[in-house]
């Protein structure tokens, strides 16, 4: 599947990575080459095969309903690029 510039622009928006128009074509070529190589998978018949999302052969472990964490605002905010009055802050969003 060859990716066109518009598709590259769309996925860059989905991924929230600014992509200058000038790079779209180069990236479209590069990603198309990778996808073209990936598409050799089509040669394998996988009909009826269960998809594997984990190799772990066990049940999902569960924890008890106990408060064991939190109450550490300073720790949570210490790395923040911007914070005020105990909140993280970001450019204003209009809903």
């Amino acid at each position: 599947m060859a990716l066109d510039k518009a598709t590259v622009a769309r996925i860059a928006i989905l991924a929230r990575i600014k992509l200058p128009r000038s790079e779209q074509e180069h990236l479209a070529r590069e990603l198309s080459a990778i996808l073209g190589w990936i598409e050799q998978l089509a040669e394998v018949d996988t009909a009826g095969v269960e998809p594997m999302s984990s190799v772990v052969a066990m049940r999902l472990p569960m924890r008890e309903d106990e408060v064991t964490d939190g109450d550490c605002r300073d720790k949570i905010l210490a790395n923040a690029p911007a914070a005020a009055h105990g909140f993280f802050t970001v450019p204003k969003v209009v809903e």
């Binding site: 989905l14 929230r16 996808l35 998978l41 066990m58 210490a78 790395n79 923040a80 690029p81 450019p91």
Partner: protein, 493 residues
């Protein structure tokens, strides 16, 4: 006795026990070696003060007769492991200045086992790479050189800083992580031992995630015995990681009996790639002879989907990564590049914070998960993964371990393969299937290329059977008698 920094963990343990030297002396020797190795750009952060404090604690325990299994061992920690109060960047600009308020489970276990932290080592950004060139902090140079050729070589990747530090005697061992070969391939390139344990053996808690269903931490050492000692300290069930296996951790060192008589060792015929250098093939053949000489039985087996593992991996790993890396958004930690709106801030931050390879993989991953492509790419790859795991399961009905080359080539020069992502990806052709199936894999230095560079052989085992993998690896190690030393530090080579 030679330099302290030439000792393996096992040797240093004996030396400390016999009071031939102190933990402090050994740590000081490594602090000096670490400083001397700065030209390699392996260490991102050096923590000599912390190392000396930890060494003093080791000496106190040794004096009390309460030495721990990794007592006084100065380690390099891959920058993917969160270390409390010590800068952790995952080799990325987007995490510049990030100080984790917690310690990863694996490193915490190492410190609890008495190990000493020397510092944090460089890596491919977010562990995405096979050369340790895609780092925000500049490439790492391998301590090796081709004889008579001073061009800097890559150490392999993504745990290239770890491999370089261990090979250059700037750390007695290092932690690595392996998503598609990131421990084993740099171990092969740098002439050291690298073990990727079974998925679930070591906790992923506190390790910056690349691809959650594939990532696994493991030891990078100068001997198979060291790998066994260090794995025991790193491994174990962690209730904070839902994918961590509640499996007992055996005494891996005790498994190094030197006896592999009667073991059936699978030789997968599909690993004979078209165009693979003859020296790799020859090395592999020598490995087969060694295990035969040791009384094991080579068995030709088939892993017929081998060639599809890599493309399947390049769907699954980027897909998971595209989601795992969404948290780097300039809001709670790391880099923020301002923007007029929230979205603009995100886009500016992520464009500036991620390097080219990470951006490429995030875009691929976003694409293969997006509406209309999910089935054709992501689900297809997941189905392939099932088939690949089944291939291994079938193979292990006929044999106890597999023997393969680790990588299809020796180290290459920095700058080579940089403009061809696919050529770079092919480095991992022998290691990636192991991650997809969640199995343990060990790379052991087995010889030198025509160019005088290290080459490794890989031993693959059943899930949670690192003991057998290490036992077979020990045989290869002994038979190969790999004694070559890198050009750095001077006096080696």
């Amino acid at each position: 006795m030679g330099a302290l920094t030439d000792l393996t963990i096992a040797e240093a343990r004996d030396g400390l026990a016999a009071k031939q030297f102190s933990a402090r002396e050994m740590t000081e020797a490594y602090i000096a070696a670490m400083a001397a190795a700065r030209p390699l750009n392996a260490f991102l952060v050096e923590t000599p003060e912390r190392a000396l404090v930890m060494a003093a604690a080791s000496d106190a325990r040794i004096a009390r007769g309460a030495a721990l299994p990794m007592e006084g061992m100065p380690l390099a920690i891959k920058d993917l492991f969160c270390t409390e109060g010590v800068l952790t960047t995952a080799g990325s600009r987007i995490l510049e200045r990030f100080m984790p308020p917690y310690e990863s489970t694996v490193t915490a276990k190492l410190w609890q086992a008495g190990a000493v932290m020397l510092g944090k080592v460089n890596m491919d950004e977010f562990a995405m790479g096979s050369s340790t060139v895609t780092c925000a902090h500049g490439p790492v140079e391998s301590p090796w050189r081709r004889p008579g050729d001073n061009r800097p070589l890559v150490p392999g990747g993504s745990s290239g800083g770890s491999a370089a530090a261990v090979a250059a005697r700037a750390a007695i061992a290092a932690t690595g992580t392996d998503t598609g070969g990131s421990i084993r391939q740099p171990a092969s390139f740098c002439g050291i031992v690298g073990l990727k344990p079974t998925y679930g053996r070591c906790s992923r808690w506190g390790i910056v995630a690349f691809a959650s269903s594939l990532d696994q931490a493991g030891p990078m050492t100068r001997s198979v015995r060291d790998a066994a000692i260090m794995l025991k300290a790193m491994a174990g069930h962690d209730p904070k990681d839902s994918t961590s296996a509640p499996q007992p951790v055996p005494d891996f060192e005790a498994a190094l009996t030197g006896d592999i008589r009667g073991l059936r060792i699978g030789i997968p015929r599909e690993y004979r790639l078209d165009g693979m250098p003859g020296e790799i093939e020859a090395l592999w053949q020598r490995g087969i002879e060694w295990i035969k000489d040791a009384g094991a039985k080579p068995v030709e087996i088939s892993l017929k989907l081998t060639k599809y593992a890599l493309p399947a991996y390049y769907i699954i790993a980027p897909a998971e990564a595209s989601s795992n890396l969404a948290r780097y958004d300039g809001v709670r930690f790391g880099l923020r590049v301002p923007g007029q709106s929230l979205d603009e801030m995100y886009e500016n931050t992520r464009a500036a914070g991620f390097g080219a390879e990470v951006r490429r993989r995030i875009l691929i991953g976003t694409y293969v998960l997006s509406a209309g492509y999910y089935d054709a790419y992501y689900l297809k790859a997941q189905r392939l993964r099932t088939l690949i795991a089944r291939d291994f399961a079938a193979a292990f009905e006929r044999c106890d371990a597999l023997l393969t080359p680790t990588a299809p080539s020796a180290a290459f020069a920095i700058g080579e393969k940089q403009d061809d992502p696919i050529a770079m990806y092919l480095n991992d052709v022998f290691t990636v299937p192991v991650n997809l199936a969640g199995l343990p894999g060990l790379s052991v230095p087995a010889g030198l290329s025509r160019d005088g560079l290290p080459l490794g052989l890989q031993v693959i085992g059943r899930a949670f059977d690192e003991a057998t993998v290490l036992r077979v690896g020990g045989i290869i190690e002994r038979a190969a008698a790999f004694t070559a030393k890198p050009a750095f530090p001077a006096g080696g080579g």
